[in-house]
Amino acid sequence: MSSFTRSDLTDLFRAFAQRMAAERTLLGELDGEIGDADHGVAMADGFEAAARALANVEDENQTLGDGFTLAGQVLLNAVGATTGPLYASALTRAATTFGPVQEVPFDHLPALIPAIFEGVERRGHGKPGDKTMLDAWWPAAHVVTHESDSSSGTVECLRAAAQAAAKGAEDTRAMMASRGRAARLGPRSIGHLDPGAVSAAALLDVLASWAADHERLT
């Protein structure tokens, strides 16, 4: 069985950063409809800074826990906004989940998803159905914790999670925002996708394809 290492973490964040850069304009436009149009900038800049920091301090002694903590801190201070504290909290939770080890078996990777869900939920005090990024992270986390069994592979599990997140993001269209800036729009937020859920679904899509590539290469 292959493993997930500290340098894999850097590689994964590079893939996150690339995708967020590609989605920057779309996310900004989605956010402009119901918020302040800054979500694309925040996600792109935040993940770029995190990926760069991970690459810069990659040394032999860093653990996965250190890596996730670093990524969270750097992301937080690169962007602020709501995205910063929420993903910082998520990555701090992931640091605890992965712990002070230099690598974990590859099939532990899906545990990242419920860790992120719990971290975001804890900092933002939101619930699924509030029309936030939780509406993508929650169904994905549910796939990992309730629906995957050991017989199905890691990549299949991540793919199923990504699909659940994509559907969850699409479902935010009919929701009325009750958290964050869009909540001030009340009923007028209905009919629009939540940009935070869309970016979360994109991250999960990246995670699944990154894992597939990784598995093919090792």
Binding site: L76, G80, G129, A174, R181
Partner: protein, 684 residues
């Protein structure tokens, strides 16, 4: 001329000449008598001495010649178009849309009353009608009245519950049957039983089997739709008490007849599925006439799911809900076109020209320029490029004042740093809260050993980042108090003031708090004064053009050529409502009316007034608005102690204005009068 409908006045007789005001024009006179005075065509014929068919011809002529135009009340018209759009889009037999605003009764009650009407109208003698439970169902049952129907049977669609709620399945069925004069057939079993075996056994009991048989013959079902939101009655129904909806029904967005459905209306199975007694989703779909009664913004997703799943053939809802459902499906609800609306739209602003280098450098370059422009007042904070301190401000023994928020509000935030104002500021990206690090750096720079006061507007990002920074400062031994401003009256109702945004009222709060700190008052006293100032600020904004994103150069939302947005915040986000562009005086009135509604007479009659451009509205227009504002405030017995007018708190280049009124007491007035020296506000 409006359509007829005015009460008919007693017709004087014998006057056969057209009165002079109609200039001998019989046509106009006939139209007047018919539409304005409400006479019948026969009465008009007698009155003006022509035949009835001539009157009829006059009236038709008056229509075609444009003397009379018939206008349908736009609200009713929209309800009608919404109902038709719902029918077409979801293939419904019928959709009744009631106005969302009505008397003071709760929406469930008003929907219930409407549903009772529809049901009485549709139900025929001899029919079997199944009914579910819930607030709306009970309201419907209560509004039902005895008709001429005979031999109608009302069947309970689900088993019973022991929950302590008035709208149990048995209560809804019994009440409906009673009021309709129908026979009630209960389901003599609990809705949820302990095991699947018990359920199967019970279903073989002759009494229950017979009742289920009646249920299977239902001609019609009336059902409520429940959301799974925290406020939903499903959580008090007792049905799901023993299982975690979150763990077992995570894919569910709503519930009908106690069965969970997904966003697409598919069945969501869980541990209770085999233990539930009553109609299941397949049975419901087979009932020929399925009338759902539900409304409310929290239910939009659940109603949409029920419509997609085919559980509804007739819907009773309200206009806002119908519109939201259709919007989710991509339908655009346009107001009926006014005849005088210009047919040619002006070209839309698609890309706004800006003085920029790389957009991503904009914030840092603006900070650099501000530090140079105001070098006698502002100084950088070492090691923290996004923190700025006052050159003369922080001093030993004085409470430090730290403010902050996103960029794009210039002179917002850094313009209010200086002596007698804030001691330091943390600057975020465009419209984004600064992260904790610069806030902490600003806090340390402002600390004079007696604690630091944080003041910022109420936005989730600022709350999280300032809270984290405050925790870090406390850990380093700096006492921090926080005041969050909530002056934007359009962003939430008064009873949820803590949910409101903090906007231009910040300017007054920063000044008052800065003066309090400058007088060397202790931290708690400074915080209390700032909180009182924040509480007394009322702001409302309107926009004529959206601002343009620095990143894309595009407007951040769309506003039609004749539209103006009411209740905008300061982040380029849309407001709370949209209306036709109004004149300066009408706009001032619209804002001042809302503000006066919330003025507390107990807080005195003297105010500070801020007439603020949101970016590209020029000072000239602000003066025009100010003239009307002053007249209205004066008429209300309010005097203006101090006026600020200009660019004080902007939203990039949005065209628009915000008006802030702060009610003053003696202390607040004195603090406003204190000297200060900051880039945006100096007072000797």
């Amino acid at each position: 001329m409006p359509a007829r409908g005015t009460p008919r006045s007693a017709a004087p007789t014998g006057d056969k000449r057209a009165p002079t005001r109609f200039g001998e024009d019989m046509l106009l006179w006939a139209a007047w008598l018919y539409y304005e005075e409400g006479l019948t065509q026969a009465e008009i014929a007698t009155r003006i001495g022509v035949s009835r068919p001539s009157v009829n011809a006059y009236l038709a002529d008056a229509r075609t010649r444009g003397i009379v135009s018939i206008e349908i009340d736009p609200d009713r018209f929209r309800a009608l178009t919404l109902s038709q759009a719902m029918q077409t889009h979801f293939g419904l037999n019928d959709c009744m849309v009631i106005p969302s605003e009505g008397n003071d009764n709760p929406l469930t009650d008003r929907l219930g009353a409407a549903a009772a009407q529809v049901l009485r109208h549709l139900t025929k003698s001899g029919e079997t009608v199944a009914v579910t439970w819930g607030r709306t169902m009970l309201a419907m049952a209560s509004h039902m009245s005895h008709g001429a129907l005979r031999d109608v049977r009302i069947v309970q669609a689900t088993g019973s519950t022991t929950a302590k709620i008035p709208w149990t399945p048995e209560a809804c069925a019994t009440r409906l049957a009673e009021n309709l004069g129908a026979r009630c057939i209960p389901l003599s079993a609990p809705a949820i039983v302990s095991t699947a075996e018990v359920r199967d056994m019970l279903l073989h009991e002759p009494v229950l089997a017979e009742q289920m048989e009646v249920l299977a013959q239902a001609d019609r079902i009336v059902l409520g739709i429940s959301s799974l939101r925290p406020e939903s009655t499903i959580h008090t129904s007792g049905l799901f008490d023993e299982v975690s909806i979150r763990d077992h029904y995570h894919a569910a967005v709503g519930s009908i007849a106690g069965r969970m459905i997904s966003a697409n209306g598919a069945r969501v199975d869980g541990p209770l599925e085999g233990r539930t007694i009553g109609m299941d989703l397949d049975m419901i779909r087979k009932v020929p006439e399925r009338m759902a009664v539900a409304g409310g913004m929290d239910k939009v997703q659940a109603i949409l799911a029920a419509l997609r799943g085919g559980y509804v053939s007739t819907l009773v809802t309200d206009a806002d809900t119908a519109r939201a459902i259709l919007t989710s499906e991509g339908y655009e609800d346009r107001p009926p076109r006014r005849p005088d609306a210009p047919s040619e739209a002006l070209p839309e602003r698609t890309r706004v020209k800006k003085f920029l280098n790389r957009p991503r450098d904009a914030v840092d370059e603006a900070i650099a320029g501000a530090l140079l422009a105001h070098e006698s007042i502002l100084a950088p904070v070492d090691g923290a490029p996004r923190a700025i301190r006052a050159r003369h401000g922080p001093r030993s023994g004085k409470v430090g004042l730290v403010i902050g928020g996103g960029s794009g509000h210039e002179p917002g935030f850094l313009g209010y740093v200086g002596q007698g104002m804030a001691d330091a500021v943390a600057v975020g990206n465009i419209f984004a809260s600064p992260p904790p690090d610069p806030i902490l750096a600003a806090t340390k720079a402002a600390d004079g050993g007696t604690g630091v006061l944080h003041i910022f507007g109420n936005f989730s990002g600022d709350l999280m980042n300032f809270e984290m920074a405050a925790e870090m400062a406390e850990a380093q031994g700096i006492a921090v108090r926080t005041v969050v401003t909530t002056d934007d009256i359009a962003s939430a109702p008064l009873d949820t003031r803590s949910a409101r945004r903090g906007v231009a009222g910040n300017v007054f709060v920063f000044k008052v708090a800065g003066a309090a700190c400058n007088r060397m008052l202790p931290l708690d006293k400074c915080a209390a004064i700032a909180a009182r100032a924040a509480d007394r600020c009322l702001t409302m904004g309107v926009a004529l053009e959206p601002g343009a994103s620095l990143d894309t150069g595009r407007p951040s939302f769309r506003l039609g050529p004749d539209d103006m947005e009411i209740g905008v915040g300061v982040h380029g986000e849309p407001g709370v409502a949209r209306t036709q562009v109004k004149s300066a005086d009408e706009t001032a009135d619209l804002i001042v009316d809302r503000i006066l509604d919330e003025i507390n007479p107990a807080n005195g009659t003297e105010v500070a007034l801020l007439v603020n451009s949101l970016g590209s509205t020029p000072q000239m227009e602000l003066y025009i608005l100010n003239r009307r504002l002053r007249r209205r405030l004066e008429a209300h017995g309010i005097t203006v102690h101090l006026t600020l007018l200009g660019h004080y708190y902007t939203s990039l280049d949005m065209a628009g204005v915000s008006i802030t009124v702060m009610q003053l007491d003696l202390e607040l007035k004195e603090l406003l009068n204190d000297p200060c020296d900051s880039p945006a506000w100096s007072r000797a």
